[in-house]
C-alpha cells in the first residue's frame, strides 16, 4: 500500500476539505456573486442607454463593408477619419512602445459634419464632448467600428453603401465620455430600413 505524499500545506488542505459551508452561507455567497455578475453586465447598458437618450448628437461621415462575428452576428464595419486629429499626447516610446489611452474631443464643421479635433492625455476640462480611445503607433483605435444588423439586411446594406460610398454617415450620441451609435445612414435612408 502506497503512502500519500504530504506537503507543508497539506494540513490546511485537510482542514479546507473538511469544511462544509451551510446551505444558507453558500446561497448568500452565490447571491452576492450573482449580484456582482448582473451588475457588471448591466452597468454598461445603463450608461449607454443614458447616452443614447440624453447625449449630444453628432453626425460623422464614414464608409463601410460587411463582415460577421460568431457571437454578435453580422455588422457593417466602418471607419471614422482620425487623420486630421491634433495630437496633444506626450508620447513616450520607451514605455509600452508608444501605446496609451487617450481622450478625443469632438468638433463640428461648417457643413454640420462632426470630426475628431484633439487627442488629449486626460479628459478635457472645458466641457467639450469627448470619447475614450486607444493611441497606438501614430494611429487611433476607436470603440465604435461596427454597426450590428439583422443578418438578412447586412449584405443589402453593404450594397447600398457601395452604391453611394461618399454619402454615408453614422449618428453618434455622447454623454460624459460615454458614446453610442444610434443610427447609420446612406443619404437620408436609415440602414436598418434598407430594402432587399
Amino acid at each position: 500500500m502506497t503512502t500519500e505524499k504530504r506537503f507543508f500545506f497539506s494540513p490546511w488542505l485537510d482542514k479546507i476539505s473538511e469544511w462544509r459551508p451551510s446551505k444558507v452561507l453558500l446561497l448568500l455567497l452565490f447571491l452576492l456573486l450573482a449580484a456582482l455578475q448582473v451588475g457588471f453586465s448591466i452597468y454598461p447598458s445603463i450608461r449607454s442607454e443614458s447616452a443614447a437618450r440624453n447625449g449630444q448628437e453628432y453626425k460623422f461621415r464614414t464608409e463601410a463593408y460587411d463582415p460577421a462575428d460568431p457571437f454578435r452576428g453580422r455588422y457593417l464595419q466602418f471607419r471614422l477619419d482620425t487623420s486630421a486629429v491634433k495630437n496633444r499626447l506626450e508620447i513616450d516610446d520607451s514605455r509600452s512602445a508608444g501605446r496609451q489611452i487617450c481622450y478625443m474631443t469632438i468638433a463640428v464643421g461648417s457643413d454640420g459634419i462632426a470630426y475628431f479635433d484633439e487627442a488629449l492625455p486626460k479628459p478635457p476640462e472645458d466641457g467639450r464632448d469627448y470619447i475614450k480611445a486607444r493611441y497606438r503607433y501614430g494611429s487611433f483605435d476607436l470603440p465604435m467600428q461596427q454597426y450590428f444588423l439583422d443578418e438578412e439586411i447586412a449584405p443589402a446594406a453593404e450594397q447600398a453603401f457601395f452604391a453611394d460610398p461618399n454619402n454615408c454617415f453614422i449618428i453618434l450620441r455622447v454623454q460624459k465620455g460615454t458614446s453610442v451609435v444610434t443610427g447609420m445612414y446612406v443619404g437620408d435612408l436609415l440602414i436598418d430600413q434598407v430594402e432587399f
Binding site: S10, S45, R99, E151
Partner: protein, 480 residues
Amino acid sequence: MTQEKHLQWLNRQMQEWLNQGLADPETVARLQAHYRLKARETKRLPALSFALVILGTLLVLLGVILILAKNWSALPRLARVFISLIPLLAGIGLGIFTILGDKGRLWKEISGLVVSIGLLTAMAMTGQVYHVISDPSHLFLGTALLSLPLVYLFSADLTALVYLILISIYFGVAAAQRSLSFGGLLLAGVLLGGALKPWLLMQIHQKKLQGHDLWLNLALGLTGFIWFMAMLPYWIPWQEFLYLYFLLLILGDAFLYSDAADTLPGNWPLSREDAEHHTLSLLGKLALYFLFYIFTFRGLWLYQAQSSFRPMTYGILLVLFALAAGFTFVLYRQSKFQQPDLMEAAADGGMTALKWALPLLPPVLILIFQKMPDRDAASLLAVICFNLVFFGIGLRLLLRGISQNRLGTANLGLFFLVLIIGTRFLDIDFSFLVRGLVFVALGLGFLFTNLWMVRKSREKAEEPPEAPAASDAPKGGAAQ
C-alpha cells in the same frame, strides 16, 4: 482490472458455483441481477448521462447565442438588453435551485457552465445593442474573473475549463494587440493562472483529478500535428502530404507489429496498452481524423479542393487502393486459415475493406464533386457528408469508450464532438438562424435521449430478476 472485467470474472465464478452445486440457481440469479443493476447504476449510465447532459446543455447555450446573434434589430433596444441577460439569469436561477435542492455534481457543473456562458453573452451583447465594442481582451478577462468564484463555490470542473479557455483568449488577444508589455503578460499569467492553483491543489489532494489518458492522447496528437506542420515544405500541397503522413504511419505500424488488425484506420485502440504499443498507428489515425475535420470546412471545398487536389489525387488514390487491397488480402488470408467457414472469412475481409475505405472517402468525394457542374451544391453536399462523418466518429468513440469503460477513448470522442460543434458554431458560411435552430434541436435531442435512457433504466431496475433457464441448472450435486 476494470469493473467490467470484475463482473465477467464474477459471472464465471457463479457459473462454477452452480456447476459444483455450491449455490442454487435462484440465489445465483438474484446475485447476477443485483450486480447487473449495481453496475448500471454506478458506472455506465451516469457516465453516459453526464456526457449527454453536458453536450445537450452546451448545444442549447450555443444555439441561444446564435439566435441572439441574428441581431433582431426590429426589437427595441431595451428589449434586446433584457433578452441578452436571459442566459445569465437562467444560470443564476439554476444555481439557486442547485443550492436549495442540495443537488449533486451534475447540476453544479451545468449551473456553472450556464452562468459563465450567460455572462459572456450578456457582456458581448451590450456592445452589440449600442454598436460600441469594448476591448475584446477586457470582455474575456471580465467574464473569466467573474466566473472564477463559481469554480470554488461549486467545485465545478467545466467552469474551471471555461476559465482557462477565457484567460487563454485574453492572453492571445493581449499578445496580438500588444496591449500588455512582456512583463505585464507574464505577471497577468502568474496571477490569473495562480488564481486556479488552490482549486487544482484541492482536486489533487482529494484525489478527484485523474484521467491523464486524455492528456496523453492530446499530447501525442498535438506533437504529431506540430511536427507535421513544422516540417511541411511550402511547395507540397498539404492535403496530399497529410495522406502520405498518416498512411506511412499506419502502414509502418502494420508492418512492425504482428497483430496488424489493430492498426486498421477504422479501429481506435481501446486500452492504454494498445495505444502505447501502436503509437505510430495512433498518430496516423489522429492525422486521419484531423484531415476529416479539415474537410468539414466549406471554404476549402469552394476554393481549394478542386484545384489543389488535381495534380496528385489520382496517383495517391491509386496507391491507396493498391495498399488497402493488399493489406485486406493479407488479413483475409489470415482469417481464412483461422476460420474454415468461407462466408465468415469473406465477411471479415469485407469489414476490413470497409475500415480501410475510411481514408479513401475524401479523394473519392472530391472526384465525385469535381464532376458536378454546380459548385455551390457540390460543396454543400461535401461538407454535410464530412460533418456527419466527423460527428459520427466522435459519437462512436464516445459511446465505445463508455461501453468499454475506457476513459481516454470516451474523452477523445467528447473532444471530437466539442471540436466539430464549436467549429460549426463559429462557421459564418451558414446562417445564424439555421445554425441556432440546428444547435437547439440537437441539444434538446441529447437531453431527451438522456431522459428516455434514465426512465428506461428505472423501469428495468423495477423489473423482477429473470430466473435462469432449466438448461443452465447444474446436473447433479447438492442443489438437486
